[in-house]
């Protein structure tokens, strides 16, 4: 008895399907490179935050909430009415699903000094969240802003695991949950040629907006003008995680204000070093499949050759 399609056609069919899949993947695979040291796109914008200037007024938090239509946050799950009655208003403990931008306070352990830090998405040059997102819901687009697309996201939360700065937040309490994070006010302001709300409203100029290259040189100028005022005389975000578009100048150690110690290569580079070679054009799986297939086919043929013998011995059909 013969199959409706013969064996050769079947093999070709499978290889063809594999090739089509590889081709479909290749388009997206080639588009994304992960050099060891990413280069900023030419139109990359950014923010420079200098905590020596920041007075902790939190106008940026209010402006961000307003520009992004975010609801006020009450302390740790307290209902809004209770919080307002208790006089607690809009004090999120950290970035969360209602807070895209936050000012945190660092106190020296001996209580003598303190300083503030503004935390939001860092808009990395080679974002780990973008590398991990299965359908590209998080995407690095125009001006280098990393934005989230609700029609592609499946809510797997890999971005939360991948981000070295713990930025993306998930709406755990919504049935239609979104991933919430700073997007440089992309839809609300960047597209209308306005700067993001936080940098616009900052009264002291602690956080400013501009082209990443300009901000970097401005930051370095500040360092040069005031030697040893800023920690390690360097800008955080110039190389961290491959470089970020939000840059920090701080007069205390970066780790003290919650900016993690990171190497200068992006996580995407680290994670795809090996797989980008093995899976290029699906060559690895196809090669392994070919080798295994050959060995298995040979063993199978031997098994089939021995089958009549076995069936005679047992009197039963061979079980697969």
């Amino acid at each position: 008895m013969s199959l409706a399609i013969n064996r050769r056609q079947l093999i070709l069919g499978i290889v063809g399907a594999g090739g089509a899949a590889a081709g479909g993947l290749a388009k997206s695979a080639v588009a994304m490179e992960h050099p060891a040291h990413p280069v900023a796109p030419p139109d990359a914008v950014g923010m420079l935050y200098d905590n020596a200037i920041c007075t902790g007024c939190r106008a940026c938090m209010t402006a961000c909430s307003e520009a992004n239509g975010l609801p006020p946050e009450t302390a740790a799950g307290m209902p809004l009415e209770t919080a307002l009655a208790a006089g607690l208003w809009d004090i999120p403990a950290d970035l969360n699903a209602q807070t895209k931008n936050i000012i945190k306070l660092y106190r020296e352990p001996d209580g003598a000094g303190f300083c503030f830090v503004k935390r939001q998405c860092m808009h990395c040059l080679d974002p780990a969240c973008v590398t991990g997102c299965p359908f590209g819901a998080l995407n690095k687009g125009e001006w280098g802003a990393v934005t989230w697309n609700s029609s592609l996201c499946i809510g797997c939360r890999y971005c939360e695991v991948a981000c070295p700065f713990d930025v993306p937040k998930f709406q755990w309490d919504k049935w239609n949950p979104k991933i919430v994070k700073c997007e440089f006010c992309f839809d609300q302001r960047l597209k209308k040629n306005q700067e993001p709300a936080c940098t616009d409203v900052c009264p002291t100029g602690a956080v400013i907006f501009g082209k990443r290259a300009d901000l970097l040189s401005k930051a370095k100028q500040r360092i040069a003008d005031a030697r040893d005022k800023y920690f390690e005389n360097r800008v955080y975000g110039e190389y961290e995680a491959g470089g970020t578009q939000v840059l920090y100048l701080s007069n205390v150690a970066f780790e003290k204000i919650g900016l993690p110690k990171l190497g200068s290569t992006s996580l995407g580079h680290y994670a795809t070093k090996v797989t980008s070679v093995i899976y290029k054009w699906l060559s690895g799986p196809l090669l392994v499949g070919a080798i295994l297939g050959a060995v298995i086919k040979r063993n199978w043929n031997r098994h089939e050759a021995e089958r009549p013998e076995h069936e005679k011995q047992t009197g039963l059909r061979d079980q697969l």
Binding site: M1, R7, L10, I14, G24, L25, S28, A29, M32, D94, A128, T131, G132, C133, P134, F135, G136, L152, C153, I154, G155, C156, R157, Y158, E160, V161, A162, P164, D166, F170, W172, D173, K174, W175, P177, P260, L267, Y270, A271, K273, V274, T275, Y279, P285, V288, G289, L292, G293, V295, I296, K297, H303, H310, Q313, T314, G315, L316, R317, Q319, L320
Partner: protein, 436 residues
Amino acid sequence: MSVHRTDTTGSTLVNHWQYGVPVYDEGLITPTLLFFAGLAALGLVLAAARFFSPLGPFSGMNDAYAWGIWKTFNVMTLTALGSGPLAVGMAAWVFNRKKLHVVMRTALVSGFLFYATGLVALGFDVGRPWNFWNVMLPWRWNAESAMLEISICMPVYCCFFLAVENLPMVLERIYYTGSDSTKAFLLRWAPRLRRIYPFMITGAYVLPLMHQSSLGGLLLLGGNKINPLWQTPCLPLLYLLAAALCGLGFVTFLLLMSSLRYSRPLDLGVLGELGNLLSWTCFLFLAVRFGDLIVRGQFHAAFAFDKMSLLFLLETTLILVPAIALRRRVVCETPRRLLNMAVLACLGGLLFRFIPTTIAYMPARKASYFPALPELLMSVGYIALGITAFGLAVKYFAVLPGEIKDWNYMFRLVRARRQAVARKGAEPWPASLSTR
């Protein structure tokens, strides 16, 4: 005098395990089955409820620990136990250990159930499942994402390759309990199935090689959040080896426990082979593990005797002890010792796969995670679902290896069919059946 050592034919007809035989001598519904079915029902009811609710109330996950036990345990950890088809299959079909063919079905059923329940867990874990249709549009795929690789590879593996591999067992039952026309239909199509079977097997090994390593690859993007004792570019390879050793260990464990439960004799020739393979796989795993630690300069951290170091030493000991012990044939062929070693190896492998996802994962210093009660019940429910299904499968299908003398072509009939047979009052099939 033991016969096993001198048996060099590699024949599957060794001692007691000669053929897959269904479990006859027990009623279908037992208290144990009801217990697990009850747990499964509870888990599934909660899962259904979760589907119509936000994720927050049902789980203890938070933004610091965005992955809970559904992902980290049911999928990333338990599918290692479900890698029996991969490990045992490759040993049988690629490395030509013919003795293992007789236990393939057990491995396949357990593997299928682990994967299926893992996929159910995954399905109820994602927050926006309605967007999953994007998987059908290849131009929207992010090819570098390990998550994407898993979301495509695991369902394809489970629902296609593993399903096809399990098909002969199902068709066998249909054949022996079916009408003449059914038999004729199957006899016509069986050879075609046989012809594509080798390709199915090949796919059934290539795909798990890909996604079991991708499960480890998921953690690469965790970066510094994962303790350096576990964070390594070798994570995919180590996860794959852990899957192999867990697969072997679990199949050993399952065979021993099933024999206990269903009062079947053992076959230490086969079990000894599994133990032997398990030992080598454990050694291979440990070689890669320690080689990696030394190359990365983290060897000293393993002996720092802080919390992470102690966990590492625990997981290593759990794998090292079986590796060494199972080199001794007397351990491989003593049922109790083999069971203990298999369990230790499985625990070690599971611990290795679970630790970097949750315990050695440190996003922010003050964050903590523990599964909430509904989350726990759902996870246990999924596992119970698998156990229940296995308990039913071994009675409906010829899964567990047994002796040919116990085979009587009699498959447990569903009640309607039984009544039809009783009404007809005749044997459903001739007592002697030509195999052609």
